[in-house]
Symmetry: C2
Subunit: 253 residues, 2 copies
């Protein structure tokens, strides 16, 4: 087998996702991009804007994963407490960051850089800024924790500015085959045999449903691209053997 991939955990911080007000749009983006750069996402937690909960969770996951990403809670209002909670988790002073302070001071009209906005320039001591090309107020990295905005457009810009600093492992190869009209229960046994033949790969089975019938999409993933190709050929043969018509790729939406 290959070298071990570094792992990532995402903390989505915010009552609005837990109340159903907002549908999270950040998990899928980060899952995809982290996979591409070889830092697979292994867990996501969505937690409320509650100080003790954030501090405890940050400390739990930063010990368990190579990288922790947070989204949300870094704006100027009273419910934006991510930054001070991360400082508390690291037992570091939460204090004005000179460069963040200077950027925001330049950005606002005279008199508009008020105490609420100054909170956005207040960070754990020693934080490294993550640029925000959209709305100026930066995110930051402290230790293995990367603190990003919750607004998707801003989060994505921050992530792309951070990504070149992250050291990824080998990229994950992936092959998908789908077949209309095939039910999981008919291929399950054969698919389990393929998984046993390729223990280093993840073989996933995902039924889909749509007007006029559905089918199943089968995904082989792993760092060994040749093994992924071979497993994908096994999957194709399995689908043909039960009379299915395998087609490479995901089913059309």
């Amino acid at each position: 087998m290959s070298e071990r991939s570094p792992t990532a955990c995402l903390l989505v911080i915010g009552n609005e996702v837990l109340s159903g007000r907002t549908r999270d749009a950040n998990v899928q983006f980060l899952a995809t991009r982290l996979g591409e750069i070889g830092i697979p996402l292994r867990e996501v937690r969505v937690i409320p804007d509650v100080r003790e909960k954030i501090v405890r969770t940050v400390n739990e996951v930063r010990a368990a994963f190579d990288h922790v990403f947070t989204t949300g809670g870094i704006g100027p209002t009273h419910d934006d407490i991510t930054s001070e909670c991360v400082a508390a988790a690291f037992d570091l002073p939460w204090e004005p960051h000179p460069e963040a302070w200077a950027r925001l001071d330049r950005h606002y009209a005279p008199g508009e850089f008020n105490p609420a906005r100054q909170r956005m320039a207040t960070m754990p001591r020693g934080a490294t800024l993550i640029d925000n090309a959209i709305s100026v107020a930066p995110g930051f990295t402290i230790g293995n924790v990367h603190v990003l905005a919750g607004v998707p457009r801003i989060m994505q810009a921050m992530f792309e500015s951070l990504a070149p600093r992250l050291q990824g492992g080998p990229p994950i190869a992936s092959r998908t085959v789908h077949a209309d009209g095939v039910m999981e229960g008919r291929i399950a046994e054969g698919l389990a045999a393929i998984q046993s033949r390729w223990p280093a790969l993840d073989i996933g089975s995902y039924p889909y449903y749509r007007m006029g019938g559905g089918g199943v999409a089968l995904v082989a993933k792993g760092v060994d691209a040749e093994a992924v190709e071979a497993a994908s050929r096994d999957i194709t043969a399995l689908l043909r053997a039960i009379g299915g018509r395998p087609v490479p790729g995901e089913p059309p939406v």
Copy 2:
């Protein structure tokens, strides 16, 4: 204050969300419905199809929350291991459930109720079935853990069949006001004062962005409906005081 609301945690089980292949569609539905029936969702975890991880997480969250809901991993394929992991978490035998077995046996043509499909009728001993009006194979409740399908349409049907059995707390009242052109940094101080005046409520501030400018949506939530109304009036007054034009409700999408 009122009686304490029971709490809920959701476990989304599946590699496909963590790889970015699938965008979760279940969190928002369950967050909304659980809020409506007075069992607010307090945490979500997305975890992979890994036995030890599922067992450990189920045991951790079932001790910490009144209700745990799981989605995903109850189909017939080798990567569907939620049911056996929940049995292991409770240290219960995982065995054929007579009623589930009978339903599936009736559903499939003779000879088609194969070993893979029989796994969908295998459950922790003592499980109570959750009906599946869409595709027959039931979910189940064991202790305070409710095991649902991952396919949104099926999960929703299961939840609605389960909901009448759940004992909710007082419903959560909510009022939203939004104002175009208002930036969070201008109201943050006044909003913090409103939060202090109504400590039993959750006052949330959510900026929005769209072509031609954005604004901010402010949400007051809590079990005391009169307090929510009063806080919403305070918020409206705050927005007017800085020259904004507050409008009830969420901003149009």
